[in-house]
């Protein structure tokens, strides 16, 4: 029988890889690459998305002309006003006619103001109360009246049409009968109303105020009653040229010819008194005030001098003062022209300042110029629509120019987010986070600095608590503990790592915080006492004769050790109240009694506050979340040190401790470092524990008995109330970006260090 086939040797195909295996191999190579690319794309995508959300925060305002409407060229106008949409501005003619200009059609309609009694008056002064869309006018013969513009909006086929039907209240005389009114203003708080008129008798300027009160109830306002009429002229030193009244209806601002400002406040119902007299441009060459206007909220006054200098003064309590007074809070670069008009809005602290062809949109809070341009025409007057979406200029040729204003985040920018800012009502510039208020004129405070501070503080306290415990535990478990027990300890710690942080936070807020609050002295004793006791016990144990020590196998010392420490810990804890009576006694300033209570002693001794929900609680609980992570990774690194190294060390006569410290620890240092960094990363991003266990107070102090607000907790707390694409929404995304950059930086540093350590101990 021929045996050729057998002689050919074994089947060659046996040595070839099967087609299926090859296919799977190729597929998996592709699949893993594809998956990897997908992961990188996803991470990059998230990054790009966050950056895209954040980017608009740093954009400047865009102002573009929409159209212009020619008004009757010979007409003269006393005032220019606008509705909240910027779609139907009105102008008042001296004859009392109100000219309404429609943006869509460009049509002009005249609505005569009915003076009630049928007579005609020549209007000599007018001012607008933007919030109520009301106009107060003063006449040449010394009368005043309130005109409501009554804007209404109707929507049809997706298009909005605005209509207006002005009505006038009855006119009444004010001040010196028959004298022309030069300026008039009023402020209405709902219950109190002040009407102030500036008149001229040919030589002197006089100022008269009428105070009205009414009762306000849920069912609407009651009838107005005049409480009194006051002559303010003797109170004002200087010749008043301009009057401003805030919406609180309790004070009057008089701008005088010599560049001084008189701030008058209501003194009960008895009359007015001078609260302050100041010169905004005291240090400048020309002190005369060209224009002045209240910013939205009526707490800040913007002044512009004849030279174009521009300053903001706000009301706040000076140090030790009992009355709020105006003082310089913001200073802007000078306008390159003499200002003729200033306009504020109903949404934020922006104002438009201009003169001649120069116009500049500025934001008071952040001291930033949002937009500035030379216009192709010379503007006489300008207004910003209530919604901060349109600017309307009236030029010298009686042409009305409509501009679109696109500035969704005027209150943002580098300075707002990271700089110290002088907010309204504050006595000094500061970093502050307070994003939401109950009213429109609230000045949002978007400083990320307190949040970054809080993140660092929380992380630091957590690490201070976690690192020593976790590392020492890892060292002990891997090098000294009985190996049988190690197989139990490690999984137990890993289970601890899987505890949801919500549960830890809950525990911290409900149980730990009240416990620590009452037992701070006990806590101090225990934290100081136990490590010392442990070290002492170690020393004591090592001095014991070997015949006693031999009963406990190496690695089982804890059998003696733990009960002793437990008893000692309990003893120290119970000693707390006694310790408190000795060490933490403070005197109550109001009664003179001595109180032994740490909660009173801490503020009295350090000047810092004591909160129940404090950093100690957070550090403690966050430590709990971090310890298992650091422990497991560090323990792995320590256990993976080759046994040959250890035995060699021991054989050379080194003790267990010397081996652990000089041989094992350096060899495992790269791994231990990774453990620390991963723990740090966890602490930085930890959210729920911080949300639940702190008061979420965005404060900036290292005090361990006060709380904090971290970046991640801030996002969790505020995102539900942030309207989409609002400044707050984007700022929260910026918080996320900062967190991302923070962890990225930490991880990069960690990786570099790790590589370095690995390189260093590679030879061992």
């Amino acid at each position: 029988m021929p045996t050729t086939t057998r002689c050919a040797g074994p089947d060659r195909k046996r040595f070839e890889t099967g087609p299926l295996t090859l296919f799977v191999d190729r597929f998996m190579t592709f699949f893993i690459r594809f998956g990897g690319a997908l992961v990188i794309t996803a991470v990059l995508g998230i990054f790009v998305f966050i950056v895209a959300q954040v980017y608009p925060l740093f954009q400047a305002a865009r102002v573009t002309e929409l159209k212009s409407v020619q008004l009757p060229p010979d007409a003269k106008f006393t005032i220019l006003g606008v509705d909240e949409w910027g779609a139907k501005p009105f102008l008042v003619e001296p004859s009392g006619e109100i000219l309404l200009v429609d943006f869509e059609t460009g049509s002009l309609t005249e609505a005569p103001v009915n003076f009630g009694d049928g007579t005609t008056h020549e209007i000599s002064a007018a001012s607008i109360n933007k919030r109520e869309q009301n106009l107060i006018v003063g006449t040449k013969d010394g009368q005043y009246g309130v005109v409501s513009i009554n804007y209404t909006s109707a929507e049809k086929d997706g298009k909005q049409t605005i209509s207006a039907s002005p009505t006038a209240g009855p006119f009444a005389p004010i001040g010196n009968p028959g004298q022309p009114i030069l300026d008039i203003a009023y402020g209405d708080s709902g219950t109190a109303k002040v009407i102030v008129a500036l008149q001229n008798d040919g030589e002197m300027n006089s100022v008269t105020a009428i105070l009205l009160k009414r009762k306000r109830s849920l069912m609407g306002a009651g009838k107005e009653e005049i409480v009194g009429t006051f002559d303010l002229t003797p109170l004002i030193s200087g010749r008043p040229t301009n009057i401003l009244v805030p919406g609180s209806g309790d004070s009057v601002i008089s701008i005088n010819e010599d560049g001084s400002v008189t701030y008058l406040g209501l003194d009960g119902t008895e009359g007015f008194k001078v609260l302050q007299q100041f010169k905004p441009f005291e240090d400048k060459k020309d002190r005369a005030i060209a224009t002045a206007e209240f910013l939205f909220g009526d707490v800040s006054l913007v002044f512009a001098s004849v030279d174009g200098d521009n300053r903001v003064f706000s009301l706040f309590y000076p140090e030790g003062g009992k009355v709020r007074l105006f003082d310089l809070t913001h200073q802007f670069p000078a306008l390159g022209a003499s200002p003729t008009y200033m306009a504020s809005t109903l949404r934020n602290k922006a104002f438009l300042l201009g003169g001649g062809t120069v116009s500049s949109l500025r934001y008071a809070t952040t001291e930033s110029v949002r937009w500035e341009q030379k216009l192709p025409f010379s503007a006489l007057n300008a207004v910003i629509s209530g919604k901060y979406e349109r600017i309307i200029f009236l030029d010298t040729k009686n042409k009305l120019h409509f501009f679109d204003l696109d500035d969704p985040h005027p209150d943002s920018g580098w300075k707002a987010l990271f700089g110290k800012i002088w907010y309204e009502g504050a006595a000094a510039p500061k970093w502050e986070w307070q994003s939401t208020g109950g009213s429109d004129d609230f000045e949002p405070k978007y400083s990320l600095v307190p949040l970054i501070f809080g993140t660092v503080k929380g992380t630091l306290y957590a690490m201070v608590f976690a690192v020593p415990i976790a590392l020492l535990a890892a060292l002990y478990t891997s090098q000294f503990l009985d190996p049988g027990l190690r197989t139990v300890i490690k999984p137990t710690m890993e289970i601890m790592a899987s505890l949801p942080s919500v549960v830890l936070g809950f525990l911290a807020a409900i149980y730990i915080a009240p416990l620590i609050e009452n037992q701070v002295p006990s806590l101090i004793l225990v934290t100081a006492g136990l490590p010392v006791a442990a070290a002492l016990f170690g020393w004591f144990w090592s001095t014991l004769p070997i015949r006693l020590r031999k009963y406990i196998k190496p690695g089982r010392e804890w059998i003696v050790f733990i009960p002793i420490l437990l008893i000692l810990g309990g003893f120290l804890w119970s000693l707390g109240p006694a310790f408190e009576r000795i060490a933490f006694v403070t005197t109550d300033p109001s009664t003179g009694q001595k109180i032994a209570d740490f909660r009173y002693w801490w503020p009295a001794a350090t000047g810092a506050t004591f909160d129940q929900r404090n950093s100690l609680v957070v550090g403690f609980m966050m430590g709990f979340a971090v310890i298992p992570i650091i422990f497991t990774i560090a323990e792995d690194a320590l256990s993976n040190v080759p046994a040959s190294l250890k035995t060699a060390s021991m054989a050379c006569g080194a003790s267990r401790w010397q081996t652990a410290l000089r041989v094992v620890l350096p060899t495992a240092s790269a791994g231990i470092f990774s453990a620390l960094m991963i723990g740090l990363g966890r602490a930085v991003g930890e959210t729920m524990i911080v949300v639940m266990a702190t008061g979420n107070t965005p404060i900036m102090e290292w005090n361990n008995f006060s709380g904090m607000r971290t970046l991640s907790a801030n996002i969790a707390v505020e995102l539900p109330e942030a309207p989409h694409h609002s400044t707050l929404y984007r700022t929260l995304f910026l918080g996320a970006l900062v967190l991302f950059i923070l962890t990225f930086a930490v991880n990069t540093v960690a990786e570099v260090m790790r590589q370095h350590l690995r390189e260093k101990y590679k030879t061992i």
Binding site: S217, L218, K387, S435, G438, S439, F442, P723
Partner: protein
């Protein structure tokens, strides 16, 4: 101002014995009439002050229409406008009127303004512990207690002695409780009681009204604010007034006349296109809330019912 504790104690005993006048819904408000074809889901996101009330209304409404499913979430009034704009909720309960900026955002998306429906009357109360003998506080004092900017012009107040208490209480520092900034109660109190000033940093911001009341109940030196509906037997609503000596109780009568300075409406905001009827489920729910049945629930929860004039006005607006 010195007050005699024993007289105060006697007074407070007298107050307890005087039976509070029983509140009743105005008989002119109609009973709810069931209609057909009401099914589906409705979500409500917003005020915590209104949370219990919304739940009670939802229960009552489900008795009428068992096929209706109502979900209620109450974290604070500021969460209502975003939810209405994003369409995640059809009902937006709020304990303060919407801010113009919130209305702007809504108007930008839909082209019209949201519809405001007052649903109950609330006296925002300043609560103290039941063992606190304080007789009353002026609004200036309230401002001095809670505000760091003190826009009302009063003195800074930190201990109970400074508002006239004597004995043990005099040296006790006030422990301040308040709401978080998402809350409409926080906003309203800031506007009305602090004259738009700022809160002191020491005011503990609690996530809910019940947490405020609990905090006050367990702390004799505490003072805090929340809607009257959260009142329990462990706390007492302090009478308030514009001037010392003229204190006014936080009751229905004083809220309607405007004598009680912190009276307010509670609202539900809905998305209703002008000139078009609302979706039926939401409309029926609001009709139920504004009916005699719905307003009885208001009393049951400790708030005050709407006066007839408001109900009539709202019903006309809703049918427009």
């Amino acid at each position: 101002m010195k007050t005699n504790i024993s007289i105060l104690a006697a007074l407070s005993v007298a107050c307890v014995t005087v039976q509070a006048e029983k509140l009743e819904v105005n008989p002119g408000i109609a009973v709810y009439k069931q209609t057909s074809g009401v099914t589906g889901n409705v979500n409500s996101i917003g005020s915590d002050t209104l949370n219990n009330l919304m739940t009670l209304w939802a229960e009552g409404f489900k008795k009428e229409y068992p096929n209706v499913n109502i979900q209620i979430e109450g974290k604070g009034s500021s969460t209502a406008p975003p939810a209405l704009i994003e369409g995640t909720a059809q009902l937006g309960p709020m304990s303060r009127p919407m801010k113009s900026s919130e209305i702007d955002a809504f108007e930008k998306k839909f082209g019209y303004k949201p519809t405001e429906v007052p649903v109950a009357v609330d006296a925002l109360a300043v609560f103290v512990n039941k063992d606190n003998p304080i007789k009353g506080l002026t609004m200036k004092q309230v401002d001095g207690i809670f505000s760091s900017s003190r826009k009302m012009g009063g003195e800074n107040i930190t201990t109970w002695g400074e508002v006239g208490l004597t004995g043990d209480m005099a040296s006790k520092p006030m422990s301040l409780y308040g709401r978080n900034s998402a809350s409409g109660t926080y906003g309203f109190f800031k506007d009305e009681a602090l004259a738009k000033g700022d809160f002191k940093a020491t005011v503990k911001e609690q996530p809910g009204s019940s947490a405020v009341v609990q905090g006050i109940a367990s702390d004799v030196s505490a003072i805090g604010y929340s809607g009257i509906g959260y009142k329990t037997s462990d706390v007492r609503a302090v009478p308030l007034g514009e001037e010392a000596g003229k204190f006014v109780e936080a009751d229905y009568e004083n809220c309607l006349t405007g004598d009680y300075p912190l009276a307010r409406f509670l609202y539900v905001y809905v998305n209703k296109k002008p000139g078009e009827p609302m979706d039926k489920l939401t409309q029926e729910f609001l009709k139920y809330v504004l009916s005699k049945d719905g307003q009885e629930v208001v009393i049951k929860d400790g708030y005050f019912p709407l006066p007839k004039a408001s109900v009539d006005e709202v019903l006309v607006n809703l049918s427009k």
